[in-house]
Subunit: 460 residues, 2 copies
Amino acid sequence: MMELFFKPKSVAVIGASGTPGKLGYVIVNNIKGSDFSGDVYPVNPKSDEILGYRVYKSVLEIPGEVDLVITALPTPKLTVMTMEACAEKGVKAVIIESAGFAEMGGDGKVYQEQIVEIAKKNNIRVMGPNCSGIVSRNIVTSIYPMTKKVPNGNVVLIGQSGLLAAGMASDIVENESLNIKQVCSIGNKCDVNENDLLEYFGAQDDVDVISMYLETISDGRNLTKIAKKVAAEKPVIFLSGGRTEAGAKAAMSHTGSIASNAKIVEAAVKQTGMIMADDFTELKDFAKVFSTQPLPKGNRIAVITLAGSVGVNVSDLCASHGLELPKLTEETTEKLKDMFDTPVSNPVDLYFSVTKIGFTKTLETTFPDAFRDDNIDAAVLILAGFEYTQEAVQKKIIQKIVQDVGKPVVVCMIVGYNKYKNVIMDEMGKELPVFPSLISGVKALSKLCEYGIRQQKQSA
Amino acid sequence: MMELFFKPKSVAVIGASGTPGKLGYVIVNNIKGSDFSGDVYPVNPKSDEILGYRVYKSVLEIPGEVDLVITALPTPKLTVMTMEACAEKGVKAVIIESAGFAEMGGDGKVYQEQIVEIAKKNNIRVMGPNCSGIVSRNIVTSIYPMTKKVPNGNVVLIGQSGLLAAGMASDIVENESLNIKQVCSIGNKCDVNENDLLEYFGAQDDVDVISMYLETISDGRNLTKIAKKVAAEKPVIFLSGGRTEAGAKAAMSHTGSIASNAKIVEAAVKQTGMIMADDFTELKDFAKVFSTQPLPKGNRIAVITLAGSVGVNVSDLCASHGLELPKLTEETTEKLKDMFDTPVSNPVDLYFSVTKIGFTKTLETTFPDAFRDDNIDAAVLILAGFEYTQEAVQKKIIQKIVQDVGKPVVVCMIVGYNKYKNVIMDEMGKELPVFPSLISGVKALSKLCEYGIRQQKQSA
């Protein structure tokens, strides 16, 4: 049934418009710009043609079957009428993007109840209302203009946030290197909720990471059950909106639902094995690390640095995020001693190695020698400037080492990040998580270790 | 005496070189590229002229007085000999940039002791060894090439980190909008230490913010006394390197000194009124907020947003960082009610106002109306995309409102930051702290509130 939302063969847009800028125009144009290859039926009683598609006066007039209906109508009343037409037409999946329902209280709540009633009676699944729908390679139903094609990657973002599948998704696709497959905004969740999506994406083999933002929990018991099952197989990153009293109040005025109690949510999340994120940036950052790096077997970190002070700072941050910095084995110490003027230790300060054999060669030999050490599960690699690292970046040396050694790395670029951001992201950031600050890199790695250790225990 | 380091009238570079790339070349070239208007004396027994300056065989050969000597010599022994020559010449300030001293242990430690002895006997103040010296508008002694002039701003960064006054300083000047005045790397602190600098910059009226990174405390009792005095007058942001066991071990192998105990440092810092930072990015970020924003009188925050979900997330983050989200006064609620379709609340969701009067007008009227509210001390302003905010950014509306209302703002730009980073920084980031993530913005504001409340109590 959920397939109808993500892989429909035909789609109708109710409230389609030929006027650029209007929501009903953006939706049709987004579908046109995606790889969608099925039939597109714009519905508008006053038009004949929109963006090259023949327009129908109503959903009932459409000749063939309609897998998915997307509505962007100006009033809740018109939306209810459309639901009735969809029932008559035999439509089984509807995305209602319009606002003005339960989140507004009063009549809006009544209209939403009517929609649910029609849906139940006719076995229609409804996403929304008050949502941005779906952003994917296959189909884009968002009300925000997409200028590039979605990469068809391995990361899914789902959430109770219009912005997520609108401006944020567009920004990720256009300007960030996160390899997303689907972004899905579920709005008021009058029917389709997080449990449906978690179950659906949990079963998709080409989805490796799920990031989820929720302000309300539709069915806590079921979520716990499903999340536990899915998180045992693939990482589920979770951002809880309204986990403090202030946040809960904000969520209430925003979605019209009472937000979930912070402590209950956090305890439940921990129990399920989901990974907690603290803001939208972490929701993306953690997904980046999980979707590009192998899982570590433990939390023993090598801090690889070119600048002593930064190594000290990262050591402190590792300790405060539950990560350990073990000594390297005697074997490694012996192997590396010619590359150091001081005793080999962890943080591994590459300075002397660089002065002896240059930066690229150091990354190619000294770094993997330390990284392979049996005491080490993962590494934080601190690059202090693009100029020095340019050759290594272009030769994709770090990516090759990660693949070869089979352990994860996070890269913190603390000098030159702003200047070389685009180059770094194009040449390194597609396959490696690159962070502009030490805190963000260490925190993301600590989450990867948390999950890796859990998986390790599970398989033991 | 410290003036000789920062405002010398004449400077000699021992180990100066005419070969581009060599440290002794970079230093002379950096001085040449600064606004330094006094006499420059490169010293090198084998050259006659370097970068247009006449070269002297030794410091003793220099005809006039020498206020400051900078040394970048290949061996510690040569450095000791130079110290003796400096004593004979009557030099009173020396920056020793070379490494190979106490941080290496063994002989290095002995050489450093010899330097201290000569310095004490002859009343010479020594910065270093193992440091990058000074980066300022007036003079640049760093071993890292500076391509732009230092802005002569109101922020000073000092620390036990070569990178700070080298690559990091260069990067800040070239690619970031932090308004720095001086960056000073003090290395092994054989003589000049954090207390000297804190006292010196504390007394400078044109220095508004001091950010400091330390791995060791030279004289804890004195630091507490001086920091307390300085922090009562201007914000001192403090990053402690080696505050965990792992970090302390790292610091030990890096500087050769035993790092300070975490708990003692943190308790002492709290007592002095300094602001704790957790990494180098925060050292800069907090300085940005403190150097551009007025101090708030309390911790009551208005969260101003265009997207509900992001407002919820920021509310949670505020609560976890000790910030409150009060209700707006009835007066404000009444004044604003026509701009909202839902009850006016905090977070203030500008969505309806934008649909009614547009984004720029909303920022010009609805935002300041909420911001002026008597229940509000400061605001987090979440901008969801540059396209919408372009006009407001160009008209510098937010800056004008901050000035007019007299309360601080942090701006979180969560969509379009990467794409428009340069425009945002050029047009908005010079006078406003703009953050790419919600966590970083909220945390920085919480530090401003912490300090503001402290100052408020102090003056009461």
